[in-house]
Amino acid sequence: MIAVEENPQNVQQADIVVAIPTFNEAAFIGRAVEIVGRGLREHYPDRSSVIINCDNHSVDGTREAFFQAPVEVPRLYLSTEPNRRGKGANLRMLLEKLTALNPHAVLILEADITNMAPVWVRLFLEPVFRGAAYVTPLYVRHKYESTLTSTVVYPMLRCLYGRRVRQPDAGDCAFRGDLVGAFLNAPAWSEAVDGTGIDVWMGTVALTCRVPVWQSLIGSPKRHRAKDPFAHLAARFRNILTAMFDQMAAYAHLWTRVKWSKPTALFNLDGHEMDNPPLVEINAARLHQRFLEGFPENESLWRQVFDPAVMNKLDEIRRMPYEQFTFPSQTWAAVLFDAACAYQRLENQERPRLLDSLIPLYLGKVVAFVKRTERMSVQQAEDHVEETCAIFEEYKPYLVDRWPS
């Protein structure tokens, strides 16, 4: 719900809406607005546009920085009530506003991207003007960046919904204005979606709408505030899996009929990679330790959730010395498939415990991924991710057979 709206230029309609969700981003939003403003002026000078700051009632001067940025594009500020947090809450508010603005194309960009360039506005929006309904970026990524996407989100969404969208939860996307209604009416909105589950949720809604989904090659990494990939992991992991598993229940009539997968259309194929991704270092030995520590705490729950053959395999993996550590993708797929089925059978209050118990296993899978790909180039590591996805697709009947009717 929109608690605060400031619309000093009284914008009632716009062809293009660029939305920047924030919570205490005063240090970054001014630059983001400037870059977006330049992008709109350079690439879409003849289209009416507005930049919207969707804020969580920031207290650091985000709103003031947003309005003070020196651009000519009209601006509109929305905020949730003071106690409502999360990117999903921001975007829910945006979707409500979009029904009034009736835009042709919408672009969502995070505020703290430090290497955003004006051309990004075109790279996201142009596919929409050429027929795409939903556009996700293909940022240049280091092989260990976004391991949650590489090992969970991408393989799961691809095998469930049948489209190969490599970075469905990148945090930035563009979509056609007529998808707004689909987002507003889509099922499985939850507290998790109010938070960091929003990106997976939106991507899934778009995939289930059976509209053209494109990927746009950005040619650069997404550089943002330095973040430890494993900080706040528990909350992110829980939100993302909650969104994914809730949507599996809502869309079971669709995904149980999907077999194998298909590529998407691509945009900016002639673009060149201009920048190397920042190095991501992972302390695999430490993650391995956390994997092992997960057993005493979670083993009894796992024995109720996982097929006995899966549990035997996990026992085997646990006994492997670190030097020879591996976590086969078939076992990983079965872990996620069994967990998705168990999640449906559990009461709401029991579900977070199940999701939290999967974190040590996820860390084990990351260790195996790091060890398997440590001498590989980015491209070779990418091939390994593709092989994992093919295993998930091949193994999907296991999930369909066990899915609670």
Partner: protein, 121 residues
């Protein structure tokens, strides 16, 4: 019977694929270059295209983009003598790829998968 269009500038590959895939129960048509490929697809309406990446006059990856922009969901399998093409991001628009071989087991498996792919609308 599914119809497969084989696009390859090497005659022996067109012959090999045609013979083996016909034996496997497919209808096969061939093209020796990318010349007027989109028109050919429009006219023949194949269920799947096997596309050579490196032809003398045509770049298969560029042809793949042309196919994808006009026939969004037409299955395309890239066929290549080298797997270095994966460094070109254009290749991810293909459904599958195979490295050329006289043993067509892998190709037949990918054809079956591509033709079985089902996304309910």
């Amino acid at each position: 019977m599914a119809k497969i269009l084989v696009v390859d500038d090497e005659e022996h590959i067109r012959l090999l694929y045609s013979e083996e895939l016909r034996d496997a129960g497919y209808e096969v048509i061939t093209a020796e270059s990318g010349h007027k490929l989109l028109e050919r697809i429009e006219e023949e309406k194949p269920d799947l295209v096997i596309l050579d990446i490196k032809m003398v006059d045509y770049d298969g990856l560029d042809l793949l983009q042309d196919i994808r922009s006009r026939f969004y969901d037409l299955p395309v399998i890239l066929s290549t003598a080298y797997d270095t093409f994966k460094e070109d991001s254009k290749s991810i628009a293909a459904d599958y790829y195979v490295v050329k071989s006289f043993d067509l087991t892998e190709l037949k498996k990918k054809i079956a998968m591509a033709l079985e792919t089902h996304l309910p609308g």
